[in-house]
Amino acid sequence: MEKHTLSVLVENSPGVLTRVAGLFARRGFNIDSLAVGRTDRADVSRMTIVVEGDKPLIEQVTKQLHKLIDVIKISNITEDEYVDRELVMIKVTAEPGQRVEILHIAGIFRARAVDLGSKTMTFECTGTGGKINAFEESLRPYGIKELVRTGKIAMLRGSKFVALSPAQARDAESA
């Protein structure tokens, strides 16, 4: 089963996430990750959805998504060159004597310490899913207290982009 990355532009309207998530649930499609936030336009959000499945399934996912009125544009960018990132925050057990060692590990992954407790340290780290996984595994022996990941966001490389067409940009109105 291949993983596909869909870049989806949706109306920034209440319930749009429920519509998309509900569609995946009721049609039995598995979401690997879903990241959503507004774009440079206040009325449009972008969802980066990672789905696992074969070609016919991904085609069906795309077509079903298109049927949602609030979905404006879908691009399967898997086959294209793209940059993808994920952000993770990890709170790890760190006795005062372990801090230097842990900071050293963090340095390897270019993670930054963002908080310090009497017995914990919190790091942020960005990168591809693989790098984040490796960072997580490196910290696991110290005891991970809490971990939060954003899910993948992605963007096409070079001058290609996934954006509204001029006509779509004009039709700004939506209920």
Partner: protein, 555 residues
């Protein structure tokens, strides 16, 4: 000039040329009903249960081809609409549903008669709206009617909190819709159209498999022309019935689970399958591996998501059936297919639809008599179950929009309210409801609506004192253990009908039908005919579960 949202809503409906609304009032829709009170152009039909309202709007939409409109209050009013919304969604019926909602400030507090109806109907509407901003009313309604009626039609729900309905706005109705995420494809891709025309030329054994999309696009005439032009036999899905003349020599009847054996065998033998406005539903395809195994598959549909969903398609073509067929017709070259048509003829002779006549009154006989007396000119509304399949098999529909029935959802209780809607949508035409004693008891309260509206619906009840279709399934799949399918108590349906002021009759023999039916059908006013039919009769042929479409059994 400022008016209330409720008043603006009525104004919007008038602009959309809505002539009739089916509904049931309640606390949260008080403002809407108060506004309707002042409308001179919109007729409100008071039903006896919200399910009746939504099914009636459905029946109205199916016979007229227009958007059906219904309204219910918040909470239970809204949840009572749910079955009917699902029904309209499954059968792609254009509909706009209004529900009242508790005041904005109370939303999310589990207030009295509060339900999250937009949440509940998310999977069963084409789109829905919770109207929070009074200023957006006109645009939402404009969008809703547009979405409901265009592309693949479907129901759109608008939930309106009570305080929003009371808010004052300056009214302006938009002339255009702006929906950047919704642009249905109507025109078929020219190169695909040429490709398809070429395939017609090459095929030796083509079959057209036509569904409800033909009727939805008003493409019946073009379908007939296509079938005649390429000399291809036509089979209909249940939803497609009435989209092709039932008495035409090229007609194969319905296919699938209870389809004719000759339709099913034609599918099996064909080398080109032309799916038009149909969705390869499981009741049609049965076992996917033995469905049209030798065929190149063409699939024409307005909904891209239907193409490739169930079976692999060789030539997909997205667009409006009528438009596509119109473009296809001039490209067709006449091919001699007498050999294939001979084969079809012999299949028809070899495996005709048949049932055993005996001293009892067989339901199939009644349907045949209904056909004899109406010749396909009536609007036939059915409920769900065995009677529905017998109508599909033995009534030869002639014109589109003369069959009103719940296909995809298979919703018992649909018939009576849908007949009410159909009769209101087609004044002056004969509306016949064929129903069962199981189905009609689910929505029998709508007899009151029917009488209140002075509708001359002829109700033909197939009374076998059982839930026949489920009983039949138990015969085949539960070794005849009839669990909960034989009614131990049956009401006197004649007395029920009379209690509503409806002339009632009971037919027990073929002779009763032959003598009594013409009078029932030809006399003015409503009628209720209680036909006592044998409980053991099965719908045949049928394809046993798991088997291929070519393996239907006749006993």
């Amino acid at each position: 000039m400022e008016i209330t949202v409720a008043e603006a809503l009525v104004e919007c409906l008038e602009r959309e040329n809505v002539e009739i609304i089916f509904g049931y009032p309640g606390g949260a829709v008080l403002p809407l009903y108060d506004a309707l009170y002042h409308s001179t152009r919109i007729k409100h039909v008071l039903v006896r249960h919200e399910q009746g309202a939504v099914h009636a709007a459905d029946g109205y939409a199916r016979v007229t081809g227009r958007v059906g409109v219904c309204i219910g209050t918040s909470g239970p009013g809204a949840t009572n609409l749910v079955t009917g919304i699902a029904n309209a969604y499954m059968d792609s019926v254009p509909m706009v549903i209004f529900t009242g909602q508790v005041p904005t400030i109370q939303i999310g507090t589990d207030a009295f008669q509060e339900v999250d109806i937009t949440g509940i109907t998310l999977p069963i509407t084409k789109h829905n709206y919770l109207l929070k901003d009074p200023a957006k009313l006109s645009m939402v309604i404009k969008n809703a009617f547009h979405i409901a009626a265009t592309g693949r039609p479907g129901p759109v729900l608008i939930d309106i909190p009570k305080d929003v309905a009371q808010a004052r706005i300056s009214f302006k109705y938009p002339s255009t819709v702006k929906l950047r995420g919704y642009k249905p494809t109507y025109k078929g891709h020219p190169s695909k159209i040429t490709e398809i025309a070429k395939l017609f030329g090459k095929a030796k054994r083509p079959v057209i498999y036509a569904g409800g999309g033909v009727i939805a696009s008003n493409g019946s005439e073009e379908l007939l022309k296509l079938a005649e032009a390429i000399s291809a036999p036509v089979t209909n899905t249940f939803m497609g019935l009435a989209g092709f003349p039932g008495d035409h020599p090229l007609f194969l009847g319905m296919l699938g689970l209870h389809g004719t054996r000759y339709a099913n065998l034609a599918i099996t033998e064909c080398d080109l399958l032309i799916g038009i406005g149909a969705r390869f539903d499981d009741r049609v395809v049965m076992n996917i591996n033995s469905f049209a195994p030798h065929a190149t598959v063409i699939h024409i549909d307005i909904d891209p998501a239907e193409i490739g969903k169930v079976i692999t398609t060789n030539v997909p073509l997205v667009g409006d059936v009528k438009l596509i067929l119109k473009e296809l017709l001039p490209l067709i070259e006449k091919v001699d297919r007498s050999e294939w048509l001979e084969r079809i003829k012999s299949l028809k002779e070899q495996y005709p639809l048949s049932y055993n006549r005996d001293s009892s009154l067989k339901p199939q006989f009644i349907v045949e008599q209904l056909w004899n007396h109406t010749k396909g000119e009536a609007i036939i509304v059915t409920d769900v179950g065995q009677h529905q399949m017998w109508v599909a098999q033995y009534y030869h529909f002639k014109k589109p929009r003369t069959l009103v029935s719940s296909g995809g959802l298979g919703c018992m209780g649909f018939g009576l309210p849908a007949a009410v809607g159909a009769a209101l949508g087609a004044p002056g035409r004969k509306v016949i409801l064929v129903t069962g004693d199981g189905s009609i008891q689910m929505t029998i309260q709508e007899l009151a609506t029917m009488m209140e509206q002075c509708l001359s619906v002829k109700i033909i009840l197939f009374n076998n004192s059982a839930l026949g279709m489920v009983r039949q399934l138990q015969e085949y799949y539960c070794e005849g253990r009839h669990m909960a399918t034989n009614f131990q108590f049956h009401p006197d349906f004649e007395m029920i009908a009379r209690a509503y002021g409806i002339p009632a009759y009971t037919f027990r023999t073929e002779e009763d039908v032959v003598k009594g039916l013409p009078e029932v059908l030809d006399s003015p006013g409503p009628a209720f005919v209680n036909c006592i039919v044998p409980p053991g009769e099965n719908v045949l042929p049928m394809v046993p579960a798991g088997r291929g479409i070519n393996e239907s059994v006749a006993c």
